[in-house]
């Protein structure tokens, strides 16, 4: 096993001369020194952004999240990544703390306010051709890969207004590449920190696992609490080659005032396994658009989600399980508890394309309401255009099981202890489906904090 030694490197490829206004000029300035294919791609994306109307609640996908009230894009400045070199002692406390918990990893990457300030990867993996690097430096070192896969097949700008905005204005991001047959036994860990209010940060992640390789990837997003809004927009494109295995985990633990928007697209080819886990605990508003595409027979995707809302947090999950090829499986489980006046939306669709016979697809969303003001909306949809399939979905909302509470209290637990146990048991089901070491403990601890027991 590789024991990674953190090495501090100069932040790579930071961008100069960008003032912060979100406009076409920012796009051209961003791409001054970029290859022409990327400049054209950004400009085209900007055109799509401009010609696409801002989504309103009249659109089914945005029915429960009113952007005219929740997002203040006009007040935001484009985040310009810092060029300073940070030493580890200079990292924000929260980053240092979370990194301390993540020592055991195949590699690390730290991003502070959009600048990649640190990467390390075991020399053995590096020699096998594994890449863990910032997108900016990948532009210099691996332009072909980026030109082929960045904002093309997985999340093209045509997907929607924000997908286009991200494709036009991304400043940096992360590339993970695992060559054929290479097996990363323990996860790659990424920690991101946003310190600035009133900014819009656009980042992209590209994960490519070639035939028969294996990788797990944990992306943890942190920030301070802000009085004025910041937007963190993340586009994630994941490609699993034949028989590859990928586990992608996003831990969103950002602070108050953050609008976190994430578009993820996973492409699973023949016999591959491509699982995602999205944990939403932080931010004031979090919106997830996840599209899992099953492109080859034998492909398998588990879509796992866990959320815990309190105060006035607003989570909106929009998922699709796209069965393009037959003989593939997908299984979705999204569970959440809601306290305070928080609100969760789940809209999921299983789409079985014509000819995708022998599809097995399942979808379950369960909500636990812990307060009178909390609200849960659930829209699990099915669209089936093949006849030889097994598909089902389920959704439920309810309160804490009173019998379970009574039983635990009759055994001497306080009400608070009993409640904690029941909530953790409810949410724990999701974590038990993707038991990555380090993740389970971290999420459990974070939920306990929110429950006020830690």
């Amino acid at each position: 096993m590789t024991t990674a030694t953190p090495v501090i490197r100069r932040p790579m490829g930071t961008v100069e001369g960008v003032t912060g206004a979100i406009n076409r000029a920012a796009v051209t300035r961003l791409s001054t020194e970029e290859p022409s294919w990327l400049r054209e791609r950004r400009l085209r994306a900007w055109e799509i952004y401009e010609s696409t109307p801002m989504p309103t609640t009249r659109l089914e996908e945005w029915r429960y999240t009113d952007l005219s009230k929740k997002l203040h894009l006009d007040d935001l400045k484009l985040l310009v990544p810092d060029v300073r070199v940070l030493r580890e002692e200079e990292y924000p406390d929260q980053v240092r703390q979370t990194m301390g918990e993540d020592r055991a990893a195949s590699g690390h990457l730290v991003e502070v306010d959009g600048a990649v300030v640190h990467t390390d990867l075991g020399p053995e993996l590096e020699s096998k051709g594994v890449l863990l690097t910032s997108l900016r430096s990948a532009l210099t070192d691996h332009p072909g890969l980026l030109e082929r896969l960045l904002a093309t097949e997985a999340v093209p700008p045509e997907e929607g207004k924000f997908q286009a905005l991200n494709a036009a204005l991304w400043t940096n991001g992360i590339l993970v590449f695992v060559p054929k047959g290479v097996d990363l036994e323990i996860p790659i860990r990424v920690t991101r920190w946003l310190s600035q209010p009133s900014v819009a940060h656009f980042t992209r992640t590209l994960i490519v696992a070639e035939t028969g390789s294996r990788v797990s990837y944990v992306d943890e997003m942190l920030s301070g609490d802000f009085d004025s809004q910041s937007l963190m927009h993340s586009t994630v494109e994941v490609f699993a080659g034949d028989a590859a295995q990928i586990q992608y985990v996003a831990l969103q633990r950002m602070g108050r005032g953050v609008f976190h928007m994430s578009t993820q697209s996973t492409l699973a080819h023949r016999d591959s396994t491509l699982d995602t886990l999205n944990v939403n605990l932080g931010a004031s508003v979090a919106r997830l658009d996840l599209n899992a595409r099953l492109l080859g027979p034998g492909a398998n995707s588990d879509l796992l989600g866990l959320y815990f809302g309190d105060h006035d947090q607003h989570f909106d999950h929009c998922t699709s399980q796209d069965h393009v090829a037959g003989h593939a499986n997908s299984d979705l489980l999204y569970k959440g508890s809601l306290d305070g006046s928080s609100r969760a939306v789940f809209r999921g669709v299983i789409k079985v394309h014509p000819g995708a016979q022998r599809t097995d697809a399942y979808q379950t969303n369960r909500n636990l309401l812990l307060s009178d003001q909390a609200r849960a909306d659930s829209l699990p949809n099915l669209e089936i255009e093949a006849d030889d399939v097994r598909c089902s979905h389920g959704a439920s909302a309810g309160q804490l099981d009173q019998d379970a509470l009574f039983y635990l209290m009759s055994r001497g637990l306080s009400r608070a202890q009993a409640e904690r146990l029941v909530v953790m048991g409810f949410l724990g089901e999701v974590l038990s489906r993707l038991p990555l070491s380090g993740v389970v403990e971290k999420v459990t601890h974070a939920i306990e904090e929110k429950l006020g027991y830690a």
Partner: protein, 471 residues
Amino acid sequence: MPQHDVVEGLGLDQYKYHFITEDEPVFRSDRGLNEKVVREISAQKGEPEWMLEFRLKALKIYNSKPMPRWGGDLSQLEEVLDQIYYYVRPQEKMERSWDDVPESIKTTFERLGIPEAERKILAGVGAQYESEMVYHSLKEEWERQGVIFDSIEDGLRNHPELFREYFSTVVPPGDNKFAAMNSAVWSGGSFVYIPPGVELETPLQAYFRVNQEQMGQFERTLIIADEGSRAHYIEGCTAPVYSTESFHSGVIEIVIKRGAHFRYTTIQNWSHNMYNLVTQRARVHEDAHMEWLDGNLGSKLTMKYPSCYLVGEGAHGDILSIAYAGDGQHQDTGGKVVHVAPRTTSSIVSKSISKGTGRSSYRGLCKVYEGATHARSNVECDALLINSTSRTDTYPYIEIEERDANVGHEATVSKIGDEQLFYLMSRGMSEEEAMALIVRGFIEPIARELPLEYAVELNRLIELEMEGSVG
């Protein structure tokens, strides 16, 4: 010759309600919808001023609302709506005896078996032909107990106060575009009042027939089930097959008072050139119980979601929906339950079968408002796909604003299993018999809730439709 061709050749898969009656209407409005048509309808009916105003206001609302962009394909509908007749009056007045109904119309209903069913199993019958009720009758014993079962026009004429107290309180014109359209041009439908404590032992039935080509039918039904009463109302609908599209848009309003129990059954078997966009809604008061039994077999496109608004403590709503979509059909059906009061309960069970290029979609809403404590709701959807070209969708909306609620939704999609077929065939059944048996088993939970005669009819219809589906 492949098996399904043989069966097709027998003509079993044909729509059996296709026959055209030759007759001349007494009055027919111009094609298309405008203020003149609305005024004409109102004048023809000799309505009070307030109703004309209501209609004109509804027309404005209709014109101001955009065409829905969800549900089925309505892209051709606007063209259809410009071409159809909104009001066709088949005879001078409504009759109380079949002997007085014009021969051609009477023959039509005889072919549909209505007078026979009336004698055998029904408490009362209303028959609508084109835009008007041509026949309405209630057995004397029920009339004596104060039951009112009349055409909607006679309801307005003879019971103006009762009518005005409830009319459009359950489905206001602004509810949706087609409720607005119906409010502007409604004609025909039933007015039903069940007095407190009266329990009807046999069902009331209304039958809707569209005969003319390019016709729009806009019946409006208002039902009031007073405290502790109990009744069952059945509607059936058919039309001949034309090459052009027809249009049907009804509004059904039901008020169920404390402790009453009401069941509304629809067996919709419109011809496959019919757009069927209907708003059906019940307001359910304290401890009352509403059941919708919604069978959708016919039409080109149906968009219909019977609803229960549970406004009184302890109210209960049941929706049982069965849809069959054959070649070229789209059944966009389901149900809505809205929990407003505490301790309200509801259940939606939906079963659909898609065959050939048919598409059936379940679309439903379960909403629990804050304050509807201890609300419970369960939704179950099962879809059966017969061919690889068939399509099914499930679009449930679940909106929960109350912690103290318990809501669940489950749906499954399956095809007829090879193992099931193999087992039955190993017992000596032909493939078709085996398939029919499996389908019958699939719809059984709904069929068993129907009065026997209708259950037999439903089974027979589905069996006919299933013929030739093997291969």
